[in-house]
C-alpha cells in the first residue's frame, strides 16, 4: 500500500512524537508514505473564516500535489481531515467553481481533478479500517494491549458534519476508534466526551472555556476508569496533553491522564517501546500505560 502523505503542521511542530510514531508504524505495516513536503497548511478552518476561496485554493493545491503522485492521500490530523473535506466538498460540487480555483493553480502547472484515479483523502484511522483492513492489522499485533483501558477521543472535525465527511457511505466512522482499540486487545472506556470538543480552537480566545472543556473530558474519562485516551487529532492532543496541567487548575483536580496519538497506540500493539514512539515527549505522565502493558491482566 502506497499513499501520498500529508502530515500536517502540528505533527511537525509541537507534537513531533506523532510524526515519528507514524513513520515507524507505517513501515512496520508495510504502508509506503510519499510525504508531500511542498504542500501547505489546510487552514484549520481559520483561513476559510477570512477568505473561503483562499482556503479552497490552498487545499486544492495540496490535492493537486497528491494527484501528481498518482496516489490517494492520507492525513494524520482530524482537523486537516475536516478542513480539507470542507474545501473538497465545494470543489467537487461545482465544476465552474473548480475551474475558477484551478485557474489560480495553472501557473504552477497544477490542477485538481474530481475523482481522478479514484482519489481520496483519508485520515489514518479511516484508512486503517476501510483500506488496510482490521484483519490484516490483527495479524501484525505482537503485544495485545490486554487490560489497557482506553478512552477514544475523536476530535470534532472528523465526526461532524456527517454529510460532508462520507458518513453516508461509511456510517460507522464515528465508531472506528472503538473498533481499533478492541482489535488491538484493549478495553474501550465509554465516557461523555469522546465526540465532544477539546476546546483547542478557542485556547487563545477564551482560555478558561477552552481549558474547562479539556479538563472536563479528561475528568470524565478518569472517572470512567480510563488508563489513557487515544486521539487521531494532534490539535486535540495539544489541549488534552500539553495543556493538561493548566486544564487541571481550571477543573480544580489532579488529572495526569496519558493521551496517546493513534499511531502510538497501534505502535504499542505492534511491539514498539513507548520511548521509540516518543511517549517521553508527552506532558501528562504515560507511566500507567507502561505499567499496564508490563503486567497485562489475565483476561
Amino acid at each position: 500500500m502506497k499513499l501520498a502523505y500529508w502530515p500536517g503542521c502540528v505533527s511537525r511542530g509541537f507534537t513531533p512524537e506523532l510524526h515519528g510514531s507514524m513513520a515507524l508504524v507505517a513501515e512496520r505495516l508495510g504502508i509506503e508514505l510519499v510525504e508531500l513536503d511542498r504542500a501547505n497548511c489546510c487552514g484549520a478552518g481559520v483561513i476559510a473564516e477570512h477568505n473561503q476561496e483562499l482556503a479552497d485554493t490552498l487545499n486544492a493545491r495540496t490535492f493537486a500535489l497528491a494527484q501528481e503522485t498518482g496516489l490517494s492521500m492520507m492525513n494524520i490530523c482530524s482537523t486537516c481531515q475536516g478542513a480539507q473535506s470542507e474545501c473538497q466538498q465545494r470543489l467537487d460540487s461545482d465544476s465552474a467553481y473548480r475551474a475558477h480555483i484551478n485557474e489560480a493553480l495553472s501557473g504552477q502547472g497544477l490542477s485538481y481533478e474530481k475523482d481522478k484515479d479514484g482519489f481520496t483523502n483519508k485520515n489514518f484511522l479511516w484508512l486503517l479500517v476501510e483500506d488496510y483492513g482490521l484483519d490484516r492489522l490483527a495479524a501484525e499485533v505482537k503485544r495485545p494491549l490486554s487490560g489497557l483501558r482506553v478512552g477514544p477521543f475523536y476530535g470534532c472535525y472528523i465526526v461532524r458534519p456527517k454529510h460532508r465527511l462520507g458518513y453516508g457511505e461509511h456510517p460507522d466512522r464515528d465508531l472506528y476508534l472503538e473498533k481499533v482499540i478492541e482489535l488491538l486487545g484493549g478495553e474501550v472506556v465509554e465516557y461523555d466526551g469522546a465526540r465532544k470538543c477539546c476546546g483547542f480552537p478557542v485556547i487563545t480566545m477564551n482560555r478558561e472555556t477552552s481549558l474547562r472543556q479539556a479538563g472536563t473530558h479528561i475528568s470524565d474519562a478518569i472517572d470512567a476508569g480510563a488508563d489513557c485516551l487515544v486521539t487521531p487529532c494532534p490539535l486535540c492532543h495539544l489541549n488534552l496533553d500539553m495543556q493538561q496541567p493548566e486544564a487541571a487548575k481550571v477543573v480544580n483536580r489532579d488529572l495526569d491522564l496519558a493521551v496517546l496519538h493513534l499511531p502510538q497506540l497501534v505502535g504499542l500493539a505492534l511491539g514498539f517501546e513507548p520511548k521509540e514512539l516518543g511517549m517521553g515527549k508527552h506532558i501528562a505522565p504515560t507511566r500507567w500505560v507502561e505499567e499496564r502493558l508490563a503486567t497485562p491482566s489475565p483476561a
Binding site: 501547505n40 483561513i47 485557474e103 504552477q108 497544477l110 470534532c156 480566545m205 506532558i283
Partner: protein
C-alpha cells in the same frame, strides 16, 4: 407495523423526585416519527407524559429534543432510523442515561454484558443546555429567547420607511436565505458544546439570526451589530468550531457557518480590537501561512496576543496575561523535548516551503484576495453528475 421501545427521561417537578427513566412500547410503522411514538405512548399508557408539539411536519419547531443523544426534531426523525441508530452504538453506551449532554450519553463502560442481539431502546431526552420544566418540555427563555432578543432581531433601516415597500435586488437577499430558514426550535442551542462550557455564549441560534440582519441590504446598522457581537467576550469569538449545530439543525441553517460569516464580515469592516483576540488570531494565522506555508506555532501565539509593532510596544492587559499564561506550558514542552528546537521556540525562525513552494502559495494569496469568491452550497446546490465532455459540447452547441 413494528414494535419499538422508547426509553424516555421523565421529570415531574411537583413530585419532588428527581428525573428517572421509563420505557414505553409502541407499535407503529417504521416510517412514522419518534413524535408519533411519544404521542401513542401518551395516548395508550400515560396521559401525563409531557411533550411540546404542534405541526408534526418540521415547520413549527416545537418538538426539539434529544433522540439517542442527538438534538433534533422528534417529528422529523423516523422510528426506523432512530432504532437503527440506537442499535449501532457501542454496547457499553446503549441506553445508559448520561449527564444530559450531546454526543455520548454514558458514563462508565459496562463491559460486554449487554448482548449484541438484544434490540436497544430509542433513548429520548429533553434538549440540553436548558432547564427542564416537565418531561420533554424545556424552558427556552433564558438560553434561547433572551439570547435571540440580545441580537436585536429586527431590521434597523436607514431613515424613514419608504412610502411603499423596500425595493432590493433579489440577488442581494440570496445570501441570507439560509439564516432565514431558522424555525427557532432550539436544537442547535441544545447541541452547542461552547454553551455547555460557557453558558453565557450568545449561541448558534441567536448568532445565525444576527447574520440574517447583518447580511440584509436594507439594514443600516450592520457595522454596529458586528462591533457589538465582536466586542462581547461571549459573542462571535466564543464559538469553538465543533460543528454540532450544523448536524443538529433540521433546516440546514448551518449556524456555525453563519458565525464564520459574521467573523469574516467583522474582519472586512476592520473590527480588529475584540477582547478575545479573535481577529488578531485569524489575521496572524492567515499572514503566517502566506509567509511560511505551514504554521509557525510560536509566532502564531505571539502575534495572536501582541500583533505587529504596535502590539509589542503597547501590549494590552489581555495580551500580557495570555503570553505570561503560556510560559509554563512552553517550559514543560522544552523539558520533555517537544519544543526543543529553535524554529519551535523562536517566533519567525520556522522554515518556508521548499523548492519554490512558498512563491506558489503567495501567488494563490494574490489570486484569492483579488476575487474572494464564496460558494454557498445551500444556495447553489451540489452537482450530482457532471456531464461528460462530449455531452457538454452538445449542450453548448
Amino acid at each position: 407495523m413494528a414494535e419499538y421501545t422508547l426509553k424516555v427521561r421523565r421529570y415531574q417537578p411537583e413530585s419532588g423526585e428527581g428525573p428517572y427513566w421509563e420505557e414505553f412500547n409502541v407499535d407503529l410503522d417504521p416510517s412514522l416519527s419518534v413524535l408519533d411514538g411519544i404521542l401513542q405512548a401518551k395516548d395508550r399508557e400515560d396521559g401525563s407524559l409531557s411533550v411540546r408539539c404542534s405541526c408534526r411536519a418540521a415547520i413549527c419547531g416545537s418538538c426539539g429534543m434529544k433522540v439517542n443523544g442527538s438534538s433534533t426534531l422528534a417529528c422529523k426523525t423516523q422510528l426506523g432510523e432512530a432504532s437503527a441508530a440506537a442499535n449501532r452504538r457501542p454496547s457499553a453506551t446503549r441506553g445508559t442515561p448520561g449527564r444530559g449532554s450531546e454526543g455520548q450519553s454514558i458514563s462508565v463502560s459496562s463491559g460486554p454484558s449487554e448482548s449484541e442481539d438484544v434490540p436497544q431502546p430509542i433513548v429520548i431526552e429533553p434538549m440540553g443546555n436548558m432547564p427542564v420544566i416537565k418531561d420533554l418540555i424545556t424552558d427556552m427563555e433564558s438560553t434561547h429567547w433572551e439570547k435571540i432578543r440580545r441580537v436585536t432581531p429586527w431590521l434597523l433601516p436607514h431613515g424613514d420607511p419608504p412610502e411603499r415597500e423596500y425595493v432590493v435586488e433579489p440577488e442581494s437577499m440570496i445570501d441570507i436565505t439560509q439564516s432565514m430558514a431558522c424555525i427557532q426550535c432550539g436544537a442547535c442551542v441544545s447541541s452547542c458544546l461552547s454553551m455547555e462550557a460557557d453558558p453565557e455564549f450568545i449561541g448558534p441560534a441567536a448568532l445565525a439570526k444576527a447574520y440574517r440582519f447583518v447580511g440584509d441590504p436594507r439594514d443600516a446598522e450592520s457595522k454596529e451589530r458586528l462591533h457589538d457581537l465582536a466586542h462581547d467576550p461571549h459573542g462571535i469569538y466564543d464559538c469553538t468550531h465543533c460543528f454540532s449545530c450544523i448536524d443538529a439543525c433540521p433546516k440546514d441553517v448551518a449556524p456555525m457557518d453563519q458565525i464564520m460569516r459574521l467573523r469574516r464580515r467583522a474582519g472586512e469592516e476592520g473590527i480588529d480590537d475584540d477582547p478575545n483576540n479573535g481577529h488578531n488570531h485569524m489575521h496572524a494565522f492567515v499572514k503566517i501561512i502566506e509567509k511560511k506555508g505551514t504554521n509557525d506555532e510560536s509566532l502564531l501565539l505571539q502575534e495572536s496576543y501582541a500583533p505587529g509593532i504596535k502590539g509589542k510596544l503597547k501590549p494590552t492587559k489581555g495580551a500580557i496575561k495570555g503570553l505570561l499564561g503560556s510560559i509554563p506550558t512552553a517550559i514543560r514542552g522544552i523539558r520533555t523535548g517537544k519544543m526543543r528546537s529553535l524554529p519551535k521556540l523562536i517566533p519567525g525562525v520556522h522554515p518556508k516551503l521548499p523548492d519554490g513552494g512558498q512563491d506558489e502559495v503567495k501567488a494563490i494569496y494574490r489570486h484569492a484576495e483579488e476575487h474572494g469568491e464564496e460558494l454557498n452550497l445551500y444556495i447553489k446546490g451540489e452537482e450530482d453528475v457532471e456531464p461528460e465532455p462530449d455531452e457538454r459540447e452538445v449542450e453548448t452547441a
